[in-house]
C-alpha cells in the first residue's frame, strides 16, 4: 500500500490553474522525485499536503485512509514531515529551541538537547544544539531542519528544493543521509527539485509535473536525463548552455580572446572583517569572469560591497581605472556598475511595486508615459512574461523576476555587470535564457563577474575563473585550463 496517495487534486488561484487533477502515489522505502520547472505546481501541491493551502478538489490518502489536513499540526500528526525550500528556522534562537518549536507541553531543555544529539548521531548530521541558528551555514541550517523533521519520526519526508543553497559536497551528504533513511527505516521520501542530475542520481521513481499536470512517470532507472528534460520542459533541450544549466556537462567556452585588455573593474585589497581578507580581482571587458567558491567564503559579502550595501573596512574598487567613492550611496551605479544581487527579494526588487516601476526604478525622471514606454520596451526585449506591467512584481515567477532585475541593470548600459548566484531558484528554461543573455552581454563588451557556487555554471559560462576561499582569492585561471579537480583543491584551500 502506498504511504501517501493523491487522487485528482486540483487547485486554482483565480484564473491560474496551479494543480490540475494530480494523481500521485508515494511508496514506503522509496525516494520519489517530483520534477518540474518553477510554476509547474510542485510547491502548491506540497503546501496543500501541509494544510497551508486548501485544495479545490481531490482526495489525500495516508496509508489508504482518506485524511483531512487543516494545518501543519495535522500534517505532523499524520507523520508528514517537511523540509522547506526557504528555511523555516528562526535565526536568533538556538538550534534546540528551533527544533522543539511546534511541540506542546513543558520545555525540557536537557532532554531536548539529548534527543538532538541522538538523532544527529543516528543519521550522521552533526550539530551543536546550543549554536544560534543565525550563525550557521546553509548546510548546517538544513541539518537542523532535517533533525527537526526526523525526531518526529515521519513516515513521509518531503524535501522542497533541498539543494538550492547547498554546495556539492553538502548535497551529496544530504542524499547519502536520505538513502540510509529509506533503506534501513522504510520511510518514504519525496524530493522536489528542478535539477535533473540530482533527480536522476538520487531517486527511485520520478514524476514530472508540467503546468500543474502530471505528464510523465517512470522508475528512475528506466529513464534518462535527456528524457526527463524533454518531459519537464515540453520540448527538446539542446546541449551547450542548456546542458550546463541541467548539470549534464560543461559547455566549451567560446573562442578565447588572447588580447590582454585593461580591466574594467579592479578590486584591490578589499577587507570586510571578518569575511573578506584582502580580495584582489580584475574583471575584463568582453569576458565573463567567474568567482567560484563554497558557500560562506565571503562571496555574499563581496556582492553586498558591490551593491553598495556594505562599505568595506579597507581596499578600493576601481571602475575603468577610477577609484569609486564607496561611502556615497549609488556611486558604484553611477560609475557604471550594474548588479543582479544574490537575494533578489532582499536587494534586487520591490515585490509590491508594479513590474513597470521595478523596471524603471533607476530612471531619474518620473514621467508616467515615458516610464511605461521604457518598461514596455524592456519587457519585450527581455521576454518578461507578466499578466500586466501594472501587476505587482510579487505575482511573477522567479525567472521573470530575475529578468526584470537584469533588464533594469542592463538598461543603464553598465560597463561592468555583476551577477550573484543568478540561477538560484530558476528553472531550466529561465536559467538557459539568462545564460545566453550574459553571453551576449559579454560579446557586447561588458565585463561580467559571475559569483556562483555551481561548478557547472562556472565552467560552462566563464572565460576566466577566480576561486574564493576564506575571504581571499585562492587562485585564478583561464577556464580552458580549469578542471573540476583543480578547482576543488583551490576551494578546499589545498593548492595555490
Amino acid at each position: 500500500m502506498s504511504a501517501l496517495t493523491l487522487r485528482a487534486v486540483s487547485k486554482r488561484y483565480g484564473t491560474v490553474v496551479a494543480c490540475d487533477g494530480v494523481d500521485l502515489d508515494i511508496d514506503p522505502g522509496e525516494i520519489h522525485g517530483l520534477l518540474g520547472e518553477n510554476g509547474a505546481g510542485k510547491s502548491t501541491l506540497m503546501r496543500i499536503l501541509f494544510g497551508l493551502e486548501t485544495r479545490d478538489a481531490g482526495t489525500v490518502l495516508r496509508d489508504g485512509e482518506p485524511v483531512r489536513i487543516a494545518g501543519p499540526q495535522d500534517a505532523a500528526a499524520l507523520g508528514l514531515g517537511m523540509v522547506h525550500q526557504h528555511f523555516s528556522l528562526i535565526d536568533p534562537l538556538p538550534v534546540w529551541e528551533n527544533v522543539i518549536l511546534g511541540d506542546t507541553g513543558r520545555i525540557r531543555r536537557a532532554a531536548a538537547q539529548a534527543e538532538i544529539h541522538a538523532v544527529a548521531q543516528r543519521y550522521g548530521l552533526p550539530i551543536d544544539p546550543l549554536a544560534i541558528v543565525g550563525t550557521l551555514s546553509a548546510g548546517e541550517r538544513q541539518r537542523v531542519e532535517l533533525i527537526k523533521c526526523l525526531r518526529r519520526d515521519p513516515g513521509v519526508l518531503i524535501l522542497d528544493e533541498p539543494t538550492s543553497v547547498l554546495t556539492r559536497a553538502e548535497s551529496a551528504e544530504l542524499f547519502a543521509v536520505l538513502r540510509r533513511m529509506v533503506r534501513s527505516e522504510r520511510r518514504a521520501v519525496v524530493l522536489i527539485s528542478h535539477k535533473l542530475a540530482e533527480i536522476a542520481a538520487a531517486t527511485d521513481r520520478v514524476t514530472v509535473l508540467r503546468r500543474g499536470r502530471v505528464v510523465f512517470r517512470s522508475a528512475t532507472r528506466d529513464t534518462d536525463v535527456a528524457e526527463l528534460a524533454r518531459q519537464m520542459v515540453g520540448r527538446d533541450v539542446s546541449l551547450g548552455a542548456e546542458a550546463a544549466a541541467l548539470g549534464l556537462l560543461p559547455a566549451t567556452p567560446e573562442a578565447e580572446s588572447e588580447v590582454d585588455q585593461t580591466p574594467a573593474m579592479r578590486l584591490r585589497g578589499l577587507v570586510v572583517r571578518p569575511f573578506l581578507n584582502g580580495v584582489d580581482l580584475d574583471v575584463r571587458p568582453g569576458e565573463i569572469t567567474g568567482l567560484y567558491g563554497a558557500e560562506g567564503n565571503g562571496q555574499t559579502v563581496l556582492g553586498d560591497v558591490l551593491s553598495g550595501l556594505i562599505v568595506p573596512d579597507a581596499g578600493i574598487v576601481e571602475l575603468s581605472g577610477v577609484p569609486v567613492a564607496l561611502k556615497r550611496p549609488g556611486a558604484l551605479h553611477r560609475a557604471g556598475l550594474g548588479i543582479v544581487p544574490e537575494d533578489r527579494h532582499r536587494a534586487g526588487v520591490v515585490l509590491d511595486l508594479s513590474v513597470a516601476a521595478n523596471l524603471v526604478m533607476k530612471d531619474p525622471v518620473l514621467n508616467r508615459r515615458r516610464l511605461r514606454r521604457t518598461a514596455q520596451g524592456l519587457a519585450e526585449e527581455f521576454g518578461i512574461v507578466a499578466a500586466s506591467l501594472d501587476a505587482p512584481l510579487r505575482t511573477l515567477s522567479g525567472g521573470n523576476q530575475q529578468r526584470v532585475v537584469l533588464a533594469r541593470e542592463l538598461s543603464a548600459h553598465p560597463k561592468v555587470l555583476v551577477v550573484a548566484q543568478p540561477s538560484h531558484g530558476l528553472d531550466v528554461g529561465a536559467a538557459e535564457d539568462l545564460y545566453s543573455r550574459l553571453r551576449s552581454c559579454a560579446r557586447d563588451g561588458v565585463a561580467v563577474l559571475l559569483i556562483s557556487t555551481e561548478i557547472e555554471e562556472v565552467l560552462g559560462l566563464t572565460d576566466r575563473i577566480a576561486v574564493i576561499a576564506s575571504g581571499r582569492i585562492a587562485g585564478e585561471m583561464r577556464t580552458a585550463d580549469a578542471t573540476a579537480e583543480r578547482l576543488g583543491l583551490l576551494v578546499g584551500g589545498v593548492a595555490r
Binding site: P72, L89, I90, D91, P92, L93, L101, G102, T104, I107
Partner: protein, 284 residues
C-alpha cells in the same frame, strides 16, 4: 536635613516612582518580544489609574481598585489586539487613537474619581518580586514564551511550525495590559491617592524607552526603569533641597534622560526582527 537623609529620601521616592514603570515594563517587554510595539501602554496606565481610584472610592477597598486597574489595562490590551492583529490596523495608529481616547474619557469623567480619603497603600510594590521572575520565566523558559519569541522574530516560520502567531501576540498584549494596568493603578492608589487629569504624563512612553534602553532584555529594562524613576525623584526633590531651576525644564528631565540613555546605550542587537510588523492571516 543631613545630606545622607536627603539621599535616602531621593532614593526611596525614586524606587516608588520607578515601580509603576517596572510593572508596565514587564508587560511591554513581553509584548515587544512577541512582535507588538505597543504604544497604548500609556492608555493602559492612565485608564487603570482612573479606574482604580474610581473603584477604590466606591468600594473603599484598595485591592478592588488595583483589580479594576488590571482589568481596564487588559481590556485596552484586548481592544488593541483585536484591532491590530485581528483587523490588521497599523499598531501605531491603534496606539495613538487609544491614548487620545483614554486621555479624553478620563478627563471627561474625572469627577467620578474623587480623591481617596485613605492613606496610600505601598504593599503592592512587593508583588514586583514575584512578577519580575515570573515574566522572565515565561519569556525565557516556558513553551508559551518560546512561541511568543518565535512570533516576534519570524512569524512566517512560526506559522509554518503550527504556531498561531496572532493569537500569541494578542495574549502577550493581554499580559501587557494587565501589568501596565497594575502599574497605573499602583501609581494612583498606592502612591498619589487620587486621580489627576493626565496623571501618567507620558510614563507609558518612558516604559517603551526603558525597553529599548534595555535592548529587549528584562534586567536591563528594569535598570532603565530605575534610572527614570530616580530622575523623577530628583526632579521632585531639587526645589526642596534649595536648588532652583526652571520648572518646565525640570519636568522634562526624565524624558530628556530617556532620550539620552537610548542614544548612548541602546543596542538594537536583540530587537525582535518582526517588531511592529503585522502578520496577515494566511500570510507567508
Amino acid at each position: 536635613m543631613s545630606l545622607a537623609g536627603d539621599i535616602e529620601t531621593v532614593l526611596s521616592s525614586g524606587v516608588r516612582l520607578a515601580a509603576p514603570l517596572a510593572f508596565a515594563a514587564c508587560g511591554e517587554y513581553l509584548a515587544e518580544r512577541a512582535g507588538t510595539l505597543n504604544i497604548s501602554v500609556e492608555a493602559m496606565m492612565l485608564g487603570a489609574a482612573f479606574g482604580a481610584v474610581a473603584v477604590a472610592g466606591l468600594t473603599g477597598s484598595g485591592i478592588a481598585g488595583l483589580l479594576a486597574g488590571v482589568l481596564i489595562g487588559a481590556l485596552i490590551g484586548l481592544v488593541h489586539g483585536v484591532l491590530a492583529h485581528g483587523l490588521a490596523v497599523n499598531t501605531f495608529v491603534v496606539g495613538l487613537v487609544l491614548n487620545a481616547l483614554v486621555l479624553g474619557l478620563t478627563s471627561y469623567l474625572i469627577a467620578t474619581a474623587a480623591p481617596l480619603s485613605r492613606p496610600p497603600e505601598r504593599w503592592p510594590l512587593y508583588s514586583l518580586l514575584a512578577i519580575v521572575p515570573l515574566t522572565w520565566w515565561l519569556v525565557g523558559r516556558s513553551r508559551w514564551g518560546l512561541e511568543l519569541r518565535a512570533a516576534g522574530e519570524n512569524p512566517q516560520a512560526a506559522a509554518m511550525t503550527g504556531i498561531r502567531v496572532n493569537l500569541r501576540r494578542r495574549q502577550a498584549l493581554l499580559w501587557c495590559g494587565a501589568l501596565s494596568g497594575l502599574g497605573g493603578a499602583y501609581l494612583a492608589v498606592g502612591e498619589v491617592g487620587s486621580f489627576n487629569q493626565n496623571m501618567t504624563a507620558g510614563r507609558g512612553y518612558l516604559v517603551i524607552a526603558a525597553v529599548i534602553f534595555g535592548g529587549w532584555r528584562l534586567a536591563r529594562t528594569l535598570v532603565g526603569c530605575a534610572l527614570f524613576g530616580l530622575a523623577d525623584a530628583l526632579r521632585l526633590a531639587l526645589p526642596a533641597l534649595g536648588v532652583t531651576l526652571n520648572s518646565q525644564l525640570l519636568i522634562s528631565a526624565p524624558y530628556l534622560l530617556a532620550l539620552l540613555a537610548m542614544l548612548l546605550f541602546a543596542s538594537r542587537h536583540n530587537q525582535p526582527q518582526a517588531l511592529g510588523r503585522p502578520f496577515p492571516r494566511g500570510g507567508a
